[in-house]
Amino acid sequence: MRTFDYKPAGSVAEAIGLLQEHGSDAHLLAGGTALILMMKQELVQPEVLIGIRDIEELRGIRELPDGAIEIGALTTHRQAEHSPIVQRHAPALAEAFGHVATVRIRNQATLGGNIAHADPAQDPPAMLMALGASALVTGPDGDRSIPFDELFLDYYETALADEEVLRSVRVPAMPAGSRARYVKFLPRTQDDYATVAVAAWMQLTDDGVCSDLRLALGAAAPTPVRAVAVEEALRGQRLTDALIEDAAELVRDEVDPIDDVRGSADYKREMARVWVGRMLHDLLDEGAAARGAA
């Protein structure tokens, strides 16, 4: 690993000041699992690392008055996985955090680092996208909120400007009758990246009509992607097995996977279809069971 300067910041304002001072030579360092790894491999060679792990205002998970929750950028994956607030709000989100790598990495890696790293095979981003989350960032000109649908531009590239700091992620309230799920297809080993991953949020009315849904896929394109055509085919419909099977076919054209050790692009397209279909069936069954129990 090349030499560099380490400059710890005590506040977001101080971190932004250091980013302005050092420009593109600088990177923010939180947990370090992704960045240190890329520096060891000399894929990135920053001259300055700005330490943000002591910034208190980036910590904590809270419930907001409108029913949303806000997760601070320095929350580790393990804290999010075990947070009663996250588990109560969206169990599938806690589960997605728990799918990342191993306990060791989840103890060190942060939510903010995961998102800023923008690895399309990561688990939380697709789930957050399906939940309609947005990222709150602060820069020299103040705060702005970026919806997850607009956050990822390409492999390892986000919409954050060079001098912006990701503060937190806001996950909106879960309306009545809505539920979410995450599935990670792992045909090789349990600590692997997904071959494909499917995250879904769906709202069903009392009479079984899908009033709204969001589907996002991980490890299937240069960024996490929404399966908009599948969503459009099902929104407002009373779901049947045939309708679900037909809609799931549409996901093939929404993903853009690569050939790698986890399978060919064709195989991943087919697995995207299979897992989207299973996901929709499961959400429908779960919704029916919940109504039956009510």
């Binding site: 560099f4 380490y6 370090g32 240190i36």
Partner: protein, 163 residues
């Protein structure tokens, strides 16, 4: 290149060290403190050979900047036995149950299992497999490792109920 003055403990002993920003914990432990029980395998956070505890939390020393342990308490494999040399229940169980073959992954396996038993007194086999999936054994002695952890958990639970 900035240098940083660190104050930390390893296995209960206090240290003051000045380190360059790029120093990683694995190198601080092995090269500067002579604690070579912590091994470096993959160097990319996957294999678990460099597992250590920092304030009780299981981490990869190969990915951890040394500046992160300022003010913290580090535990390595050298710190598990009692001062009189009596092994921890996990160390003892790994010997009794053949939980190692070549031994290179063993310090990491035992440190990871120590963190597990700190959190869950009597883990199920599934708990053990899920927790330990981050520690690879290329001799593939996984069944014996699971057996060792189960045996140690029973010993520790028995000791806890007696005391």
């Amino acid at each position: 290149m900035t240098t940083h003055q660190l104050s930390f403990t390893v296995n209960g002993t206090s240290y003051e060290r000045s380190v360059p920003a790029q120093r990683l914990l694995i190198d601080l432990l092995r090269d500067e403190l002579g604690l070579t029980g912590t091994k470096e395998g993959c160097s990319i956070g996957i294999c678990g050979a460099c597992s250590v505890l920092v304030d009780g939390e299981l981490l990869s020393a190969c990915l951890l900047p040394a500046v992160f342990v300022d003010g913290k308490a580090v535990t390595t494999i050298e710190g598990l036995a009692e001062p009189d040399g009596e092994l921890s229940p996990l160390q003892d169980a790994f010997i009794r149950h053949g939980g190692f073959q070549c031994g290179i992954c063993t310090p990491g396996q035992i440190i990871a299992a120590t963190a597990l038993l700190d959190e869950v007194q009597l883990p199920t086999q599934d708990d053990i497999k899920s927790w330990m999936k981050g520690n690879l054994c290329r001799c593939t002695g996984y069944y014996k490792i699971i057996e060792s952890i189960e045996a140690a958990a029973e010993v520790q639970a028995r000791e806890a109920s007696v005391s």
